[in-house]
Amino acid sequence: MAIPRSLQQHIRERAGRLCEYCHLPDTSTTLPFQIDHISAEKHAGLTILANLAYCCLHGNAIKGPNIARVDQETQEVVRLFHPRNDRLEEQRFDRLSSLRAHSHHERVTPSAEALRLGQRARPPPATLGNCIGLGYRGRLDSHTLGCHDGAALRRDQRLCPRCRPC
């Protein structure tokens, strides 16, 4: 079902022009953002505000129409992150680093992790300055490649999560 342009605009503004799964700003990428059905239409998801999310193309590619996935380590079926019901955890990126270190066979991206971390958490903290630049030297995947400079920092970080080594 086509989403009216006015509704798309509303969703974009509601999200603060950030991907609702990984918080990537839409101004920091050349790839077009999408309006995603959190519960896909094939799962009877409705085209209503509560079921629509602003989503980067990486998130779209990873999520597809799915609402759950199999954890590669535990083989458990894990509910995907739900932007309306779940909040991104403050220490999410610390968790991601440790998860990333053990995920040798899986493309691990902030989007993928955010999607698979279907958990309750606190809202992100206030930002404190900007990232000093490209510094990521850990395991790189296609999503964490490099710094979209100017990325907001959390607490006393000098590098944004994308630039922080694993």
């Binding site: 920091s28 990428t29 050349t30 790839l31 077009p32 999408q34 995603d36 059905h37 896909a40 239409e41 094939k42 193309l57 990486h58 779209n60 590619a61 597809g64 129409p65 799915n66 040798h104 630049g133 490209l134 990521y136 030297r137 395991r139 790189l140 995947d141 296609s142 999503h143 490649l145 490099g146 710094c147 979209h148 400079d149 100017g150």
Partner: protein, 94 residues
């Protein structure tokens, strides 16, 4: 990183990242401004949107999945290039 340990994670994006980290700061401000002009044509944006729409319905063929991955890869390349270019311009201005 030793050559022996590089193979498993030596994806195109990783290689590109290393090149830009090593040499990206040598761009001139003029070159950086030119790089910021590089972006997708509307035809490609429309195609990406179409692929994303099909992906939302789980209807991508294998070839289309490859195509979407190719767009993502090129997008990363451009984003990284733009990121470096903005840093060069920021440093030149300060």
């Amino acid at each position: 990183m030793s050559p022996e340990t590089m193979t498993a994670e030596n994806s195109g994006t990783t290689i590109l990242s290393r090149i830009l980290e090593a040499h990206g700061s040598r761009f001139t401000p003029e070159a950086a401004r030119s790089m910021l002009q590089l972006t997708f044509d509307q035809v490609d944006i429309d195609r990406m949107n179409a692929l994303a729409e099909k992906n939302r319905h789980g209807m991508l063929t294998e070839a289309e999945q490859q195509e979407l991955q190719s767009y993502l890869l090129v997008g990363h390349f451009l984003d990284l290039l733009h990121s470096k270019a903005r840093l060069v311009l920021k440093q030149a201005a300060s």
